[in-house]
């Protein structure tokens, strides 16, 4: 059976060039970066090289990069690290953050923090005016993702960064701006200086490196309470023996992402647009979720009326096509996606949403195959649905 992977926002295959770059650190160069001897120096040099590569992807300095075990850890570290320096105060965020930001903020709410969740309207994008009017004198942190993982909408990060600068110029202190760029990295050019963010989260496995590696950009001079303690690694910001092979992989993937971004975006955008046009032509009762223009080029989120997404997912899976209903990280549950709900969609549309996320290695033949399989799957589920008018009458 043909297998077509259209779930690149959940995770990406590892690029063979990345595997090749990391392999020496799984074989001969196995040192612990904390060791003084040559084996340790090899490891340290490798981590330093990767740090420069990751920094370059976002226009940061190498010493502003803290390697972590993934995007989730980086989000926890960013938010708790900044907030734990202060007494409970106020945080502004969007209503469509990834569970790792949402969950971290909820844990702070339990400790007395107040969180304002900004609406995203029907286009899936927050409004700068809303950020401005949510600001309180005790706001310590703004955490807004750069691009959403379910619908791909791109948030006005630069504008928020400018607002934060403005506030600082007016004499405000203790206001920090964090953005989760896990989905955006490698798909949108990122310059931390230009964006004006103080903290920024990255994850390796979304850019063709293995799972289990991430990074937090921490602007020079911004203070942070370490979360994982008991070791001098990462300049005392994150204790624990560095996962050198994963870090090297991350660095290589970052360099490739930077270099190949235009080509990858052009490729996935073309496939995505072709896919969307064909779906529109062949299937009725659809809703495309998220702003059509201000979204990532590789992602398409479609609600199929009358059916529930997971049934469609399984139908497609049985035919070798991998897609997702909502966030991979929360798809263990059957709650209708809170992101789609935040767009103002009714529950049926929220439950019928499917994310197709394309990757650099998808081909036109992949799309041909999905376009063959998908309409049939939708049709057969609708034939079963008591909500639909296409059900089978038997006698």
């Amino acid at each position: 059976m043909r297998r077509v992977y259209l779930d690149h926002s959940a995770t990406t295959p590892v690029d063979p060039r990345v595997v090749e770059a990391m392999l020496p650190y799984l074989t001969g160069k196995f040192g612990n970066a904390s060791s003084v001897h040559l084996f340790g120096q090899e490891a340290r040099a490798a981590a330093d090289g990767a740090r420069r590569q990751v920094a370059a992807l976002i226009g940061a300095r190498a010493n502003e990069i803290i390697f972590t075990s993934g995007g989730t850890e980086a989000n926890n570290l960013a938010i708790r690290g900044v907030c734990e320096l202060a007494e409970p105060r106020h945080i502004i965020t969007s209503s469509i953050e990834h569970p790792s930001v949402r969950g971290t903020l909820e844990s702070l709410e339990k400790r007395g923090w107040v969180v304002t969740r900004l609406p995203v309207y029907d286009d899936g994008i927050i409004r700068l005016e809303d950020v401005r009017s949510a600001l309180r004198s005790d706001t310590v942190l703004i955490s807004v993702m750069m691009a959403n993982n379910e619908i791909g909408t791109i948030q006005p990060i630069k504008e928020i960064g400018a607002l934060v600068k403005e506030e600082r110029q007016r004499g405000r202190r203790h206001l920090w701006f964090h953005t989760d760029a896990v989905q955006a990295a490698g798909r949108i050019a990122i310059e931390v200086e230009h964006l004006g963010c103080d903290l920024l989260t990255l994850s390796a496995h979304k850019i063709y490196a293995p799972k289990g590696s991430g990074a937090l950009f921490l602007r020079r001079g911004v203070r942070l309470t370490p979360q994982q303690v008991g070791g001098h690694q990462e300049r005392e910001r994150r204790a624990g023996t560095e996962s050198i092979a994963n870090i090297v992989a991350f660095g290589t993937a970052a360099e490739l992402a930077q270099r190949e971004m235009p080509a990858r975006n052009e490729h996935t955008r073309r496939l995505r647009d072709r896919f969307e046009n064909a779906v529109k032509a062949s299937i009725d009762d659809l809703a495309f979720n998220g702003d059509h223009k201000r979204r990532l080029p590789h992602l398409s989120n479609i609600s199929f009326r009358f059916i529930e997404g997971e049934g469609l997912l399984i139908h497609l899976d049985m035919q070798g096509v991998a897609v997702s209903t909502g966030s991979a990280c929360s798809s263990g549950t059957l709650e209708p996606s809170p992101v789609i709900r935040a767009l103002g969609r009714d529950e049926e549309l929220a439950r019928g949403a499917i994310r197709f996320s394309f990757g650099k290695d998808n081909t036109d033949e992949d799309i041909d195959y999905v376009l063959e399989v998908l309409p049939r799957a939708v049709e057969s589920l609708r034939a079963l649905s008591p909500l639909s008018r296409q059900t089978i009458a038997a006698s």
């Binding site: 009358f306 059916i307 529930e308 997971e310 049934g311 399984i314 139908h315 049985m318 263990g332 059957l334 529950e347 049926e348 439950r351 057969s380 589920l381 034939a383 079963l384 649905s385 008591p386 909500l387 059900t391 089978i392 009458a393 038997a394 006698s395």
Partner: protein, 120 residues
Amino acid sequence: MSYSEAFKDHIANPRNAGELVNANAVAEQTNPVCGDRVRLSLRIRDGRIEAARFLAYGCPPTLACGSALAEMLEGMTIADALKLERKEIVTAVGGLPSRKQHAAALAIETLRAAIQNSVN
């Protein structure tokens, strides 16, 4: 949450899907928590289910349980149908994790409602 072969077969090839035009027992039940819905139409003659069709909306277990139920009902007496239990449906779909048992419960509930509603 990896599904059994029996389960996947019910999803890929639902048994007895649709709505009977000449049904004499019909019910549609909704799970108020998650919005899952099963509709069952039966043709009952002389205390026996001659034909059964289902429609379902909701998570895959709901679809599979609807299919399994409709399949096993055909030819069954009303007396036997009323004795059907949740676990028989669960077995028919190859097992369900505990937090999906409600799908089988909804199927049984719909069956009982349909029999209750039957116009003999």
